[in-house]
Subunit: 243 residues, 2 copies
DNA sequence: ACCTGAACACCGTTCAAGT
DNA sequence: ACCTGAACACCGTTCAAGT
């Protein structure tokens, strides 16, 4: 959407906040979040570190810009199917987006940046939730809830990758190792961990994510039903309970 | 539980991994996660930074120890009430624990450390879930799900605290500021954000957390019911569907 | 208005050397 | 076996100075 950048060291164009953001994106992809420093972003732009501080208050602000840039590719799902399908697709896409870029979840995690891209997504999602029949307050709580779930999940999911996969161990190998470790626990004190060692260590993250997502959506459906039961329904008269 | 430590600079006792952990805990509480450096932990112990590397491979390993130490005070809830009540209490306590120590969620976030304290908690929770009637795989998925939710939620909850509260702005002030910002958006393109500005920015985190928790538990209850429907129930014979 | 040089006060980690 | 001095290769940030 905003400012393409393919050249490594643009000779003249003059720094822009957008250029800084794109450069940060490059460095992040190449070196991960631990390698993302102001100095590296600067050299990526063919410039000295101190120059960045003319365009950006500090690193934190650059990370805020980066966060919104990471959301730039997000596209809301088609407006088809019932609200459950649409919400599910929303979350699946959000997760896929976070997984598609290195350490994206870690960058986004716990940042409080209401960038333009995020705002558009929220606007769209809120619209669908209200259409589906959710009360205003519930719709607001719902978007927050789903955001927290996806972000929290991917964060936990993405980290073992850098922590132990950096040491050459693949995810599947880690899983079997942990499984063995759990099975070798003293059975008298940890009977459940021993018995469920395999269930606890399946490396199938898609399934784990889907499981939580379905529970969440079921729970929201229950809320919607109980909300409808309180309203006037054709043919049935339900007494309104005060407050 | 393990190794009390009250002296600031113990003269002789010789470093132990446990002493390092407790010192790290102190530094974390005092300076937050950004101020938590090997050098500061060392001086907390009256020792030079290089010394730490005899007891611990690197900072990452110290953070793993710290993570488990943060879980040390966790106590499983009483075994009373139905599974819903117990699970709810579990999550409330988990959140309270994370909130009770500075930047705890950030330390724990995305760390893959199965320390002894966490193992005990998981063992206990799995036991209750199986008692409640959850299938093995579902019980395993459930503990993971709840853990991800609580951790993800608190992470998002705790960060605005350090980011903007550090600048003297309280949470309530931030909320009203963001609310005003949302209300001032162009109404044609962001009608929902404008309309729900207040709902989206209530600073009542307890309520937000409880909302998600109830949806989650409702969703799990639905799963449990549908599981039971598939089993032989006294008086009713349900045909078993293969696979 | 925008960029740089040079400095400040920090980092994590290593390793020969001490005891 | 355990701790230190000294160094290495980095950080984020500031600020006078250049253009």
């Amino acid at each position: 959407m905003a400012g393409e950048r393919t050249d490594e060291h643009p000779p003249q164009p003059g720094l822009t906040r957008d250029a800084l953001t794109q450069a940060a994106l490059c460095v992040l992809e190449r070196e991960g979040i631990n390698g993302l420093s102001m100095r590296k972003v600067a050299t990526e732009l063919g410039v000295k570190a101190a120059s960045l501080y003319w365009h950006v208050r500090n690193k934190e602000e650059l990370l805020d810009l980066l966060t919104d840039a990471l959301m730039a590719d997000a596209e809301p799902p088609l407006r088809q199917g019932d609200w459950r399908e649409q919400l599910r697709e929303y979350c699946l896409r959000h997760r896929r987006l976070l997984l598609s870029r290195r350490d994206a979840a870690k960058v986004v995690a716990g940042r409080f940046a209401l960038g333009p891209h995020l705002l558009s997504l929220m606007e769209d999602q809120l619209d669908r939730l209200r259409d589906a029949g959710f009360a205003d307050a519930d719709a607001a709580l719902c978007t927050y809830l789903l955001g927290a779930y996806v972000q929290g999940f991917v964060l936990q999911e993405q980290v073992p990758i850098s922590a132990s996969e950096a040491m050459g161990t693949s995810r599947a190998e880690v899983a079997t190792a942990v499984s063995a470790q759990l099975r070798s626990l003293p059975e008298e004190t940890f009977p459940n961990l021993v018995a469920l060692a395999d269930d606890l260590t399946t490396p199938n993250m898609d399934e784990r994510f889907a499981f939580g997502l379905e529970r969440l959506i079921d729970g929201l459906a229950a809320l919607l039903d109980q909300g409808r039961a309180g309203r006037a329904v054709p043919g049935v008269t339900v007494p309104e309970v005060p407050l």
